[in-house]
């Protein structure tokens, strides 16, 4: 049966089949994804099995057939490769157990697009979070020819990135997932939820005058809130993937916040630090536990994101979140916490004459 047109206009059919086959296998084996990611890093049978999968994906994706056929061929070919590995006499127990589990799980893989499923789950929750401020996004998936950060795979296996083109005054938006398909491994798949959550929490519904990749508010404070929501939503988006999604969200955060050699990396670090200062303030001022305090920081970040004010004013607010907080800011924060003031009041700050 001839190949269908890819669901994403920017993808060539062969690239789409490559991506779908990988994603379908990772989706089917998602409950074992964390273990797979750990063991793939070490030389051995599991790494060998993963390499076999990549070879089979490349082979099957080259044939112009429909999605379901592509996936079933990859499953069948990998099944044979796994059977061969399982026949090895010197296979250690942990590797044998994992390969057996993967073989069983992979047989359930189908040609349904799991990436879009994750996207639908995330947007449904983010839409409820933002209410009338939400701009329903469409998903665009594009192929990039190299690692988004130019990194080496073992240290940064997240060969995927995302962005939200500036919607301007439009009431609709788009989220673009940028995939380096040839290196799209299980860790990158597990990071897809946090990438979508970041775009939806930080950018899709943002009311601001410009796009700024080095905004300590948009890429820092809001990004911190995105991780809070990831922890909360991971089970609802996909309970089978939730463990791996949380683990790899944390790993990706370490990769990104380590990068203080870029304006984006610095903004992220500063914004996260500001969020933690605010978290501590809620804990100390009101005696909240860490979850409650984090809830309030995240809600505040979302409310500020809805205020139609220049992004530089929101960045200015973040710059004031240094410990100890200035007394006038504390007063306004208390007003907001006690529902006497809107979030916008936090943006009206005295500036030097």
């Amino acid at each position: 049966m001839r190949g269908a047109t890819p669901p994403y206009a920017d993808l060539e059919p062969r690239i789409w089949r490559n991506l779908l086959a990988r994603a379908a296998i990772y989706h089917a084996t998602r409950t074992r994804l964390s273990v797979l990611c750990d063991m793939v890093r070490q030389p051995g049978a599991v790494q060998g099995a993963f390499n076999d999968l990549e070879i089979q994906v490349m082979e099957c994706a080259a044939e112009d057939v429909d999605d379901e056929t592509t996936v079933s061929r990859v499953v069948a070919a990998w099944d044979r490769a796994l059977a061969e590995k399982l026949g090895l006499k010197q296979l250690d127990e942990a590797a044998r157990r994992l390969l057996e589990e993967l073989q069983v799980l992979a047989r359930c893989a189908s040609g349904k697009d799991p990436i879009h499923q994750i996207f639908t789950g995330v947007t449904s929750l983010a839409s409820a979070l933002y209410g009338s401020y939400w701009r329903p996004p469409t998903l665009v998936v594009s192929h990039i020819r190299s690692h988004p950060r130019g990194a080496l795979l073992p240290t940064d296996p997240y060969a995927v990135s995302a962005r939200t083109p500036w919607p301007g005054q439009n009431d609709k938006s788009a989220v673009e997932l940028l995939v380096f398909c040839d290196a799209f491994g299980p860790a990158a798949y597990a990071a897809v939820p946090i990438l979508f959550i970041h775009e939806c929490v930080c950018h899709v519904a943002a009311r601001q005058d410009q796009v700024k990749n080095d905004s300590a508010f948009a890429e820092g404070l809001l990004d911190w809130a995105a991780y809070f929501f990831l922890d909360m939503w991971a089970g609802r988006i996909d309970s089978g993937l939730s463990g791996a999604a949380r683990t790899h969200a944390r790993e990706l955060r370490h990769v990104l916040t380590r990068r203080t050699d870029t304006p984006e990396g610095r903004a992220r670090q500063l914004g996260h630090r500001a969020a933690e200062t605010l978290l501590s303030w809620f804990e100390e001022t009101y005696g909240y536990g860490s979850h409650d305090a984090a809830l309030r920081v995240s809600i505040l970040a979302v409310k500020l994101n809805q205020v139609e004010r220049p992004l530089r004013e929101k960045d200015h607010f973040v710059s004031r979140l240094g410990a100890p907080l200035p007394p006038d800011l504390e007063k306004v924060l208390k007003g907001w916490s006690e529902n006497r003031l809107d979030a916008e009041a936090l943006l009206v700050a005295p500036v030097p004459a």
């Binding site: 209410g131 922890d231 944390r250 203080t260 500063l270 979850h291 530089r312 710059s319 240094g322 004459a353």
Partner: protein, 396 residues
């Protein structure tokens, strides 16, 4: 656990729809409604909106808080945070962010925008200073005074951080003056430059070109002419070239640019009054028919080789040179200067790029005339004109 989560979300949101609170817990709507209805009035249903949307409001925040705490099993956190690792922000990271913001301030569209950007940068600088000095003042009480901070900071930080911070504080201070339109006294500017001069090699090593460039832009802006009409065109040409050449020098020799800055300030700083520099002047007659002159520097490139001259000093870096010349040389330079001066005075276009463009036009004419004496004049003139045109495009 689910009751507590629903109540905690309600307490944080205060007024919310069912869909909003559902975002923060895993329970179906019927369970959420049940929890909300059993708060003894701490939360009440406010209204039902179209399409089945229910809106609720917290009426008794303290009562609700007590319920949340009561639902919490003793000693157990609601949700242990997945990753409690604190983000430590180094001084370098915060300083670089402040610098990005200061540079952006220079590109700002409106004064409001620039004011907010400056305030943001200064907040970050204050936090670095507060975390560098011994505990005492909270960061928001730190005064970013370049002179006082310089004395204190040098005791508590390494040379690289000190250099960076010193420059950033100077740039912030100059930006503040620029924003408010308050001129900085020439003496203050020269003192600022002299404070930073010993740090030049460290500034160069740390590759702070963006913020260093911004420093030069701000200093040079302080000596830009206030009213073009009050200064004659030839003098404006000279000051425009002097400023632009010092600025251009930053890109290939920070040390040279720093050294040129103080003479520039002393010659054309506002406090010394408008210096109506001419393009040519005889300073003194010397023995043997020679003359000590001061002349617009680029005119020296149009001299035929047989006209001898010796550079004596740089009167105005990039614009005026003192030289000792033979009589014929001096006469030739005077003719060229007069021709250029007449053209500049006649020109209806007074902007600095237009003045530089006029000079280029006259240079071409002079080069054609001079080529009869020395055919290398054309190529020298072309090189000079090329440089002048690139200076014309640069920011003053």
């Amino acid at each position: 656990m689910s009751t507590q989560r629903v109540l905690a979300a309600a307490a944080a949101l205060r007024e919310f729809s069912l869909e909003e609170v559902a975002v923060f817990c895993d329970e179906p709507p019927s369970v959420i409604v049940n929890v909300l209805e059993n708060t003894a009035g701490a939360v009440t249903r406010l209204r039902d909106e179209p399409m089945g949307r229910q809106v609720w409001r917290v009426q008794d925040p303290e009562g609700l808080r007590r319920r949340v705490d009561a639902e919490q099993p003793a000693g157990e956190p609601l949700d242990p945070p997945a990753d409690k690792a604190r983000v430590d922000v180094s001084h370098a990271t915060r300083l670089q962010y402040a610098e990005q913001t200061l540079i952006e301030c220079g590109r700002g569209q409106s004064s409001d925008e620039r004011r907010v950007l400056l305030a943001t940068a200064m907040n970050h600088l204050r936090q670095v200073v507060a975390n560098t000095l011994p505990p005492g003042r909270p960061w928001w009480a730190v005064e970013l005074s370049p002179i006082e901070l310089g004395v204190e900071l040098s005791r508590y930080t390494d040379a690289a951080t000190f250099t960076r911070l010193q420059l950033d504080v100077e740039v912030a201070s100059l930006t503040e003056h620029d924003l408010t339109g308050r001129p900085v006294a020439t003496k203050v500017l020269t003192d600022t430059v002299q404070r930073l001069q010993p740090l030049t090699s460290l500034l160069d090593k740390q590759r702070m070109h963006g913020v260093v460039g911004r420093f030069f832009d701000l200093v040079i802006a302080q000596v830009a002419p206030n009213q073009e009409s009050s200064v004659a065109a030839p003098a404006r040409l000279l000051t425009a070239l002097a400023r632009r050449r010092v600025r251009a020098e930053v890109e290939h020799s920070l040390d040279g640019a720093m050294r040129s800055l103080v003479p520039l300030l002393r010659n054309i700083g506002r406090d010394d009054g408008d210096r109506q520099h001419g393009l040519y002047e005889v300073l003194a007659d010397l023995p043997g028919g020679r003359e000590h002159i001061v002349v617009y520097s680029d005119l020296l490139q149009l001299l035929p080789r047989q006209f001898g001259w010796q550079a004596a000093a740089e009167r105005l870096p990039g614009a005026l040179t003192e030289a000792v010349t033979e009589s014929a040389t001096s006469s030739h330079l005077k003719l060229c200067a007069n021709m250029l001066e007449q053209d500049l005075l006649r020109s209806p276009y007074g902007s600095e790029p237009a003045l530089i463009g006029s000079a280029v036009h006259v240079f071409h004419q002079l080069a054609e005339k001079g080529a009869g004496f020395d055919d290398s004049i054309r190529s020298r003139s072309d090189r000079t004109c090329c440089e002048l045109l690139s200076l014309a495009k640069a920011l003053a």
